[in-house]
Assembly symmetry: none
Homo-oligomer: 78 residues x 3
């Protein structure tokens, strides 16, 4: 029963949702940027910095995954 | 009773809402960036920096969750 | 009595409103970034930095809450 306009809006909505994923990309870059600067400044902290860099990457990646989930929901479930 | 145009607007609205999640991703990256730089500069403050990094991640993540909540509300509740 | 187009505009408006929440996420990250850098550089100021970091987080979070309130108002009250 869904008309063409609803089908069209799904594609636009999914596309808009993925714009939010750009924050995840920038956030991951900032985490790695801080970690690599720190590793060069003080190589003794390499292990700690690596652990927390992975933590930061995981949380920023999660933001991008949220956007991906919403886009997939719109395209395939609803 | 809802027309097609309302259904269509839900998809576009949910997609727009997820754009706001990008701020969470950038904020998490900034928190981790500051913490890792500080850990390398002064490893004695590792514990304090880690605690406050997690605090910053939690608050930034909350912003992204707000956007996700609004998107889910539009898609599944309203 | 509301027409479909008004109902549709509510969803789009609420989605647009949540885009503003991205500033809150970035602002929180900047506050934490500055505070953690300062804590590592001069650990004696830990208490003062923590107090003002929390203050900065609270004000940035308030911006995101404003956006959330407007979105909820559009979706549920008006």
């Amino acid at each position: 029963m869904q008309g063409d306009i609803v089908q069209a809006a799904k594609f636009i909505g999914a596309g808009l949702s993925m714009i939010g994923a750009l924050g995840g990309g920038i956030g991951i870059g900032l985490s790695v940027h801080g970690a690599l600067g720190g590793m060069a400044r003080n190589p003794d902290t390499y292990g700690n910095l690596l652990t927390n860099m992975i933590l930061g990457i995981a949380f920023s990646e999660a933001i991008a995954i949220y956007c991906l989930v919403i886009a997939f929901l719109m395209l395939f479930v609803l």
